[in-house]
Amino acid sequence: MEFGPHLLLASLEGAVAAAVLALTALGLSLVFGVMRVVNVAHGEFFMLGAVLAWWFANLVVGNPALGFIIALVGAPLVVGVMALIADRLVLRRLHYDPEATIVATIGMLYILQQLALTFYGPDARPVVAPINFRVNFPWFGYSGYKFIVIAAAVVLMLGVWLLLARTKIGLIMRATQYDREMAQAFGIPVQRVYAGVFALGAMLAAVAAVLIVPIQQAHYLMGQDPLLLSFIVVIIGGLGSLRGTVVAAIFIGMSDGIISVFFSPTLAKILATLLVAMVLVYRPAGLFGARTA
């Protein structure tokens, strides 16, 4: 293949990665922004979404599209309920103390990983894509489902934006983020807002995983890369800034996709992690975020 088409293919792959990454990172960013909690178990919610998608999709025999739709609704709901339970049993008791919650979510990471290994097993398993058509470019054919992933991610992100910017629930969430104590003084049930935000963040990761699982198989260790990349995105985008998160996800996802095609993926990751460390050291507000975290 010539350079031009090769670059186009790399950009398409990058766009799919960026779409899924943006959704996942948005969940992490929302939880950090509103609750000031660094959720290290976020990648495991992503993994659970994929594993549950496999389980739901296999409930229906013969009709992959129906199975996929059930998974798309069911998996995020189950993950959301698990997040609610985790919030109630652990995070709330720690009063959302930033350092204690990191240790606790590391614990959750191991618990969820082990539960997946015990009940789902060590194998990677595929989920059949709901639709099967190819988009034919002059140089190569490309899976149509990948365009659907991008479209779905855009729709979901618009939905989150509408929720935050145009509804009363969003107003309450932003008020809690802006000043927790003042919000409480005005009668906002901060505890319930926190529980809801934590569940919403986990559900965003789960839905991203359901979208990716027809392309990338479900495996109990698959949460590690999305976690690391989401961290990178949230930090580069500016801690707590949702717009920065989306911009950074597109930037990181695209460049990761493109660099990985032309150079060594390991080298790309080394450079990205070092870049993040340097951004945190010298620009703690992030490259795009103007507000201080």
């Binding site: 652990v90 204690a100 606790a104 961290f231 993040v276 945190l280 010298y282 703690p284």
Partner: protein
Amino acid sequence: MNGMVLDRALALHLGVVALLFVLQFILPAYHHGIVARVLVLASFALGYNILFGYTGLLSLGHALFFGAGIYGTGLVMREFGWPASAALFSGILSAVTVSLIVGFLALRTVGVAFMIVTLMFAQAGYLTSLYFNEFTRGDEGFVLQQATRVIGPFDLSEPTTRYFAALLLFAIGLLIKLALVRSSTGRVLVSIRENEERSRMLGYNPFRYKLLALVVSGAFAGAAGAMYGLLFGYVGATFVTIQYSIFPLLWVLLGGAGTVLGPLVGTLFMFYLVDLTSGFTTASLLVVGVSLVVLILWFPKGLLGTVRQRVLPWLP
């Protein structure tokens, strides 16, 4: 009164070392091997506790220093054929160098940012060990030949010598740490943990003390890593994974952050907990996860921290 308190603490720690010395003659072979391993890893945790328990800095990247120690030793032995004693110093020196660089950069941040920066540096280190797999053999790792693991007349792969080498490392680490935390420097570290601004106001330079704590802690990790490579003969990328950053945190939390003996108690307890539960279940990760959550929820002071609070207020 004060002199007597100090003696009591010193006697306790020397007593623990003596007990471990005697144990070597009593323990059956299986437990003998486990305790040797625990002593090396407890030395790692001793150093972690200087930074976390006494200075109040939670690092999520100590695997990097452990890894610097184990690779700093293993690579010079394999590539340049250095003798084990020189390689041991090379391991410690690599960890000190790496922790100085990480310290200069990471200590510009505080709180959650410090945790993530150290995590990112360790991750970059892990990926680097995979990237240069021509030398490191990546995930697969490499074995140090038994014939090279010798210091003077001592064959470090022989079980009894191995136990004594591990105990020597631990005893040196324990006494250095005891001396450090009882010195005026140790008190400044605690004052930074309790209130950094106030110690700055009193005329101390927090950055210098935090850097000192980080480098000492990195040297402990490096010495433990180097010794681990020499005693057990295997060097691989698993020792730089995030798990090896989480383990010392877990052991210190379990034993009691800010207690000198806590890391030993925590490491022993965790090893035997996993060992005992492995009879019923293979889910060792579940044990790690549940202990982290239970500890942080109900026993944030850990085992010895609780003992100090309730029974023995003089415990250092």
